[in-house]
């Protein structure tokens, strides 16, 4: 591998700062001062990059001590999910009943060790097409709250993710929460991979069957895609979902397999959700 020789005599080791704010106000002030700082919460993506020297930021903004980012709450009929909410908290708590597809998706992430640390804010910030929280959040029409010293704004999830691992987050902004109004519609999440843990999705799918059918898939398009149809059009929905995908051939699977899998998964998801 071409790279840096750690034994080279002229190699400089770049310093890294750790900034540990104790409040959201302090956190956004620090991010405004050091926009190049990498926010780190669960660390399940950032630490891999650090451990393998895939990046050396000038600073790490440790969000573990910022209480405003944790937990979730009800606000006037909406749900506010803190960006620091972990997959395990979603999987095991009351959110299982309110957001069952997100809870199912959370349970498919990594391992217990990963789920105890990984957060939905991190999933949004990384914005991988394979992110497991993204399809169930998109199906529930989630909005991403971004906060900076300049103020607070919300973006629809579909607008927040702008490309593969790219978001509309400004350099001085932090992802602080996800907002949604729970549909309470029958919903489900499925994921395909070589084993049933520690898997990055070959393809994944969230479906809800309320007044309309809503579907969103992972690992089959560069950005989150929402497919909708009337309930009466259920018989053609699987084909519509497959056609809306833009999968590629990569190390985990072929485009043809992913498209085929989405047809099958959509049919299964409709069996589950229309019967409910």
């Amino acid at each position: 591998m071409q790279g840096v020789n750690p034994l080279a005599k002229n190699r400089t080791v770049r310093a890294v700062d750790v900034l540990t704010p104790r409040s959201l106000d302090e956190a956004i002030a620090l991010k405004a001062e050091q926009p190049e700082a990498w926010p780190i919460q669960g660390g399940t993506d950032v630490m891999v990059a650090l451990n393998f020297d895939h990046g050396r930021p000038p600073a790490l903004l440790n969000l573990n001590e910022v209480p405003e980012l944790r937990g979730w709450s009800r606000e006037n009929g909406s749900l506010r999910l803190g960006s620091g909410l972990t997959y395990m908290e979603i999987e095991r708590g009351e959110l299982r009943e309110i957001l069952p597809a997100l809870a199912e998706a959370s349970r498919t992430v990594g391992s217990p060790q990963i789920r105890n640390r990984g957060t939905i804010g991190g999933n949004l910030g990384t914005a991988s097409p394979a992110g497991d929280a993204l399809p169930p959040l998109l199906v529930e029409a989630a909005e991403v709250e971004c906060t900076s010293v300049r103020g607070v704004r919300r973006l629809a999830l579909g607008e927040f993710v702008t490309g593969v691992k790219r978001t509309a987050l400004a350099p001085d902004e932090l992802i602080t929460a996800v907002w949604l109004v729970p549909s309470r519609a029958p919903q489900t999440f499925m994921k395909i991979g070589p084993r049933n843990a520690m898997v990055i999705a070959v393809v994944s799918l969230a479906v809800s069957a309320g007044d309309e059918l809503r579907a969103s898939f992972g690992s089959a398009a560069p950005r989150p895609v929402l497919v909708t149809a009337a309930r009466d059009d259920a018989s053609t929905f699987a084909e519509r979902v497959a056609e809306a995908a833009a999968p590629i051939d990569d190390v985990r699977g072929t485009a043809a397999y992913r498209r085929h899998a989405l047809r099958v998964l959509t049919e299964r998801a409709l069996e589950r959700t229309l019967a409910a």
């Binding site: 700062d17 780190i40 790490l60 990594g110 990963i114 105890n116 640390r117 843990a197």
Partner: protein, 162 residues
């Protein structure tokens, strides 16, 4: 930077590079080499520790994030036994008795993960065991004897010891 944390009930200080992991700090800066480093990316679980009582991979925790917090490593499980000798934790003993230790590299992580499981679930089903240990890989045993050990440890804990 100096990281101050409690490990296995005692206060410690570690002089850490800001970007290093808790695993590196435990093994290289502190006297706790029990947690192992095999993948350094959260895939193998050999670095599993409890952070404030929660099961995590130490390789994915920034050492600085553990400042002011409490870590339990495999070294913190065994207690003083009779006549000053260290007794193994019941889960460790179960692994030994079941023949679930071959090279032993995965064992610390598996023991910590099992301790976490049994703290939450006194009679776990096979599926619960499988899911709870899904973050721990073993290349030697084929897992059968590990399952025997976990079931035996669960039974012993439920039966109030034997």
């Amino acid at each position: 930077m100096i990281v101050r944390l409690r490990v296995n009930g005692e206060e410690h200080e570690a002089d850490c590079w800001e970007g290093e992991s808790l695993l590196f700090a435990l093994r290289e800066k502190l006297p706790f080499p029990g947690s192992k480093n095999a993948c350094e990316q959260g895939e193998c679980g050999s670095c599993s520790v409890l952070l404030d009582g929660t099961l995590v991979c130490a390789c994915l925790v920034l050492a600085a994030q553990a400042d002011g917090h409490e870590v339990t490593t495999v070294e913190g499980l065994a207690g003083p036994g009779e006549a000053g000798a260290d007794a193994l934790h019941p889960v460790q003993q179960a692994f030994v008795d079941a023949g679930a230790v071959q090279c032993g590299f995965c064992t610390p992580g598996l023991v910590v993960a099992t301790v976490d499981l049994l703290a939450r679930s006194s009679s776990p089903s096979d599926d619960e065991i499988r899911e709870a240990l899904s973050g721990n890989l073993c290349r030697c045993t084929g897992y059968a004897k590990i399952f025997d050990a976990v079931r035996a440890a669960a039974a012993a804990a439920a039966g109030g010891g034997g």
